[in-house]
Amino acid sequence: MAKDGVIPLSPGRKTRSSSQLSPSKPSPQNVYPFSSQTQSQELIHCLYTSEEPISLETLISSFPGRKPQILEILRLVGSLNSPMFPLLIYGGPSTGKTIAILQIFRYLNRPFVYAGCRTCYSPRILFDSILRQLLLHGRNPIKGNSGTKRYEKPSEFIDLLRIALVQAINALKERNLKSGSEEVDRGKMIYMIFDNFELLRSWDKNSNIVPLLLRIHEMLKIPEVGVIYISSSTPDAYYLCTGSIEPITIYFPDYTLEDLHGIFMRNQPNPKLYSSFLSVVLKPFFRVTRRVDELSVAFQPLFQQYCKPLVDRSVVPDEAMKRKLFDNLQPYLTVALNDLFNVPSWSSHQTKQEGDHQKKGIRKSNRKEASNELDFHMSMSAKYLLLSAFIASRNPATLDASLFDSSGGLINRKRNKNSQMSMDRKDSMAEQILLKGPGSFPLERLLAIFQCITSVAESLVEEEQHENGTVVESGSFGLTSDVLLQLSSLCNANFICKSGSCPLEGSTRYRCTIDEEMAVRVAKSINFPLSSYLYRR
């Protein structure tokens, strides 16, 4: 049957077949691939949800705080076989739009076609997946894909879609005729759901995909088709210059505190305990973010912490115990509030390190790498190169002359340090750094600074070698070609990024992306006086 599914769409027959039906009134018999009952049955099954239908109560109860929206959607979708206007369901991310719709259709138990614009990352893939669902290619998508170059043009897609829809609707109708009265009538509507609709706007190269899909309903002119758009951005994002028939909008507001409580209380083994946990945790986190996914990610480890003192999780906590648990949780709570992702480590010898890591975090509000030494290997010249890149992108180029004298040594800037003009120039500089971020610099400047630094560094390196008792050949830092290799590998590690060639001269410019403390750590590892080279201090 897969063959039947494909053949009418192979170019030769497609034209002939579609040449026999006018766009307004398609005569589907000719192109109808499902000659036998079984196939049409299978088609129908493909279009329904695979899960068991659910009752209205379970539907509503499974979405705390979503009752009005669900009821409104049900009203607007209307009863069986009644045509509908296109709907636009919008609301912030992770407000349960998609899931609500899917469950609603599970409840309604009506055939629908789902196209997620994130999964279908290009118009062609989008068309492909829609038609595949309608034409039962879902069974063998490789076949469906193998016939490439089928609907490059949107108009071809529209024609094919029309044909496919008519086929499907006919299949539904005859199913109803066949089943007759003894089985409940299951309608002949087909619904098309476009999810993540807001992503369409970023498909810049064919800009008319958005109006096309927005007007697909009036273009098809098939009353048995209902269209539902799901978007995380508000309808005004789709206003077009020439305007469009706006779909009817339904707004999913972000969850309120009570809704969230309800959501997190769903199917908990020990509701009492968890509710006491929520009463501690939910409010503070709610001030930071209102997204269910982020909250649940944050709560998981916290709840483990919360339950640590308990011997069995099934205990019903009384007031004293609650207080004790809360005191136990308190420090971790503050950490978790200010920290997004703590990465657990698998192997045991790292877990304890992770533990004191967390204690550090308690003290430090902002928990970056608390350890002061670098946690990865880096050759010395690479370190110097990185530092010089950092200096080059922190200091304005005009100040290099004042920083380094001809011999490459550092000029002591004591005298002009306290002069007023330098001061205000300094904080203007700081402001600028805050705004512009690290400046970009050409390769020549980087190498010049690198030379200055290393020439200074030579001396202390020398004596360090003496105490090692190792005599090393002089000029171990001398610029060699592999400094350029170091540069490339620094670029690969994203410590330095090649910014696009600047408009004035044709050369590529570099920019150092590491932050202050990282640079300080690097400088410490080779005891290099970084702060005296930075202009800000």
């Binding site: 997946s129 998508p141 894909n145 996914d293 990610v297 990465v343 990865f376 190792t470 070609s481 592999d482």
Partner: protein, 720 residues
């Protein structure tokens, strides 16, 4: 750059060039060797090279009557050396691979466990749901992809590529689907399609051009593929394009319940990752971190297994070791480059050292027979050469057959040396001293003289004294003095293992070990009783025996060091086994092509010894290659070169010193034909000019004119 000799290579470096090419092919311009002029020219400069002596000898002999036999001998020995090199290097290479694999093995096992654990959390219900195009209706919590962060402890990811390949193999053998995504797949211009395509291509050999996730899902539904995790390895996360990667992750996260994708990401720092991805995407990853061995550790174990433990009949001298160490620490800390350097050294040694075919004898179980056999058949020249070796001169060894004896003595010394060093390493491991440093110190030829005088070891070292002559060895000894008894006992146990094959050592160690063992056992038992009573007794009991025992151990170590830690360079005949030529290695490893190219261009006259050039050096003539002329002309400008002036000076240069052309130029106005000639001459000059400019640009010496000032070229002159 046809004429730059930096590309001409002699037979010495040609094996390097080939091997190097094969090595480099897998990655980008991270590592390469610069092939240099033939060492025939180089070793005129450097003194005290064994090579020169042999040359002289052989030259001297070439004039002698027994020339023909000499030549065929040479051929034979050449052959022998080549074989020797091959089997030695193959042994070393296999050991290296083995060691590196061993290091990663535990990590791989951890990752495997983690993968299957997290797979059990996200495995999906049934293929029926899987075919549906819409996400499974479940909470937002299960939209997270498990992702292992593998912290590669090195900003150079060259070493890690091999590791990731091994990991891939390991996972595949353990029942995962594995796909390998590189930063090239995840780039802006290809977009997200290419990620999916390459992912799918690796899962399914025959893949269509347009790939979307349902396609992968349907592939996964097949019975032979079903119910296995799909591990996606991204080896160098930092280089990926952030936007595309974010899309990719988000897209897969919608499907994770249906297609159990599990990421394995190689990153350098966590901050870099956080910079790369927005937090909303980070929430879709369920992170778990793993850490690789640090390159220092790897290096240590490499040295232990390659250079210390069983001698492959190839050693490196003190200077070479220092150079390698510094190169590793200073210039690029990659194992890859270290290995390449080692191989290079090996090649240079075997090709340069006439007697190097004796090296494999080290591996023979009865090396005596091997060597004596070899030595019998040794030709007069080589034998005399062997006895003229400086080390041999020093050693005052004379007579016929004791070349082989000397060799076997050397082997014995070497074995004892390595076993003592191993003992030192055990200490070093306890007190965080790097093997690399100890090795470099232990191989120092000045060391043994120091032993002879015997300072710095006997008196218990004070911290100040330590810092003055900061020998790592003395630190180690100091450490032995401070060890607690139980670990001391363990240490001695390991020592006895290491020193098993050297008899004398074995005796001493055994003695001390036994004499430590008994009281230490007593200690432990006594502690067992005293601890549950009160702690102070135990500590007092510990105080009694400790210093005495430690001193014993320290003394043992010192005596061992005195007797057996004989660095190879102070042993007769070591030149045969030991590679000491730093400068050639250095020039091969950190050659700076830019400067080479530059001064080659400037004095190209020397290389092509043509009469026209050699007549007048400072004035440059037109018979030199155009590019050379152009570059030497360019010296007169600053870093901005006016194109027009440059062209004209070039033209005059060419025309003047080319008399025929000049004549044409003179009587060109007379005849129509001549004019056309002059014209095409002009044209050809322009063509040559352009060609030369392009060559200079390709070599990276000049930069093409910019929009702002279209008639000016910029000279790229770092003094590299």
């Amino acid at each position: 750059m046809a004429l730059s000799p930096s590309t001409t290579c002699d037979f010495h470096s040609s094996p390097i060039s080939t091997s190097n090419a094969s090595d480099v092919s897998d990655n980008n311009l991270q590592h390469f060797f610069v092939l240099h002029k033939a060492p025939a020219r180089k070793c005129e400069r450097k003194s005290s090279s064994t090579y020169r002596r042999t040359k002289r000898k052989i030259d001297m002999l070439l004039s002698s009557p027994i020339k023909d036999t000499q030549e065929e001998n040479d051929a034979i020995y050449e052959q022998l050396r080549l074989e020797a090199f091959e089997n030695t290097w193959s042994k070393i290479n296999s050991t290296v691979k083995e060691v590196l694999r061993e290091i990663n093995l535990t990590l791989f096992e951890e990752i495997r466990q983690w993968v299957f654990e997290s797979f059990s959390t996200i495995r999906s219900a049934s293929p029926v749901h899987m075919m549906k195009p819409y996400p499974i209706a479940a909470g937002a919590t299960c939209k997270r992809i498990p992702a292992a962060l593998i912290f590669t402890k090195n900003i150079e990811f060259v070493d890690d590529m091999l590791m990731f390949q091994d990991l891939k193999g390991y996972m595949q053998s353990n029942g995962c689907h594995v796909a390998f995504l590189s930063a090239l797949d995840i780039s802006t211009k290809c977009g997200i399609g290419s990620c999916l395509r390459s992912l799918y291509k690796q899962l399914v050999p025959e893949a269509s051009d347009v790939v979307d996730v349902p396609l992968i899902a349907s592939w996964y539904c097949k019975d032979e593929n079903y119910d296995k995790p799909i591990a996606v390895i991204i080896e160098d996360m930092e280089r990926c394009d952030s936007a595309v990667l974010a899309d990719f992750i988000k897209m897969l996260s919608e499907w994770v319940m249906k297609i159990p994708i599990i990421f394995i990401l190689g990153v350098t720092t966590f901050d870099a990752l956080r910079k790369l991805l927005p937090s909303s995407v980070m929430h879709n990853l369920q992170l778990c971190k793993f850490t690789l061995e640090s390159p220092i550790r790897r290096m240590d174990s490499l040295i232990e297994y390659v250079l210390v433990r069983p001698s492959f009949g190839f050693f490196i001298g003190h200077k070479v070791a220092l150079f390698l160490r510094n190169h590793f620490l200073r210039h690029d800390g990659t194992i890859t480059s270290f290995l390449k350097a080692l191989k290079l050294a090996c090649v240079k040694h075997f090709s340069g050292e006439p007697l190097s075919f004796l090296c494999p004898g080290m591996l023979h179980d009865d090396c005596e027979a091997f060597w004596s056999g070899k030595c019998e058949s040794l030709s007069e020249v080589l034998r005399s050469y062997a006895f003229d070796l400086p080390s041999c001169q020093r050693g005052k060894t004379t007579g016929d057959n004791n070349l082989s004896q000397g060799l076997s003595k050397l082997k014995w010394l070497q074995n004892s040396w390595s076993s003592v060093l191993l003992c030192l390493l055990e200490v070093g491991k306890l007190s965080k001293i790097q093997l690399l440093d100890i090795f470099c110190e232990a191989i120092d030829p000045t060391l043994c003289s120091g032993w002879a005088l015997g300072q710095q070891l006997l008196p218990p070292l004070t911290a100040s004294h330590d810092s003055v002559n900061g020998g790592f060895i003395s630190q180690a000894i100091q450490k032995v003095r401070e060890l607690p008894s139980d670990s001391l006992c363990q240490l001695l146990g390991q020592w006895s293992l290491h020193t098993a094959e050297v008899i004398e050592m074995d005796k001493e160690v055994k003695a001390v070990h036994s004499m430590i063992n008994l009281p230490s056992d007593g200690h432990t038992s006594k502690e067992k009783q005293t601890v549950n009573i009160n702690g102070c007794l135990a500590s007092s009991a510990r105080k009694k025996g400790k210093p005495f025992l430690n001193d014993e151990a320290a003394m043992l170590l010192v005596s061992l060091l005195r007797k057996f830690l004989v660095p190879i360079e102070s042993v007769p005949f070591h030149e045969i086994f030991c590679f000491k030529d730093v400068s050639s290695l250095k020039s091969a490893l950190i050659g700076d092509p830019r400067s080479v190219i530059q001064d080659d261009l400037l004095k190209s006259g020397e290389y092509l010894q043509s009469t026209s050039c050699s007549r007048r050096e400072h004035v440059l003539s037109s018979s030199i290659h155009d590019t050379a002329i152009m570059y030497s002309l360019a010296q007169e400008y600053g870093d901005l070169i006016n194109l027009h002036d440059w062209y004209h000076s070039f033209k005059t240069k060419v025309l003047i010193s080319n008399p025929k052309a000049k004549r044409k130029a003179q009587h060109s106005p007379a005849s129509e034909k001549g004019k056309s000639k002059a014209l095409e001459n002009e044209v050809s000059i322009q063509a040559r000019f352009c060609k030369a400019v392009t060559e200079l640009q390709i070599t990276g010496l000049i930069r093409m004119p910019s929009k702002r000032r279209p008639d000016f070229l910029q000279r790229i002159a770092f003094n590299l």
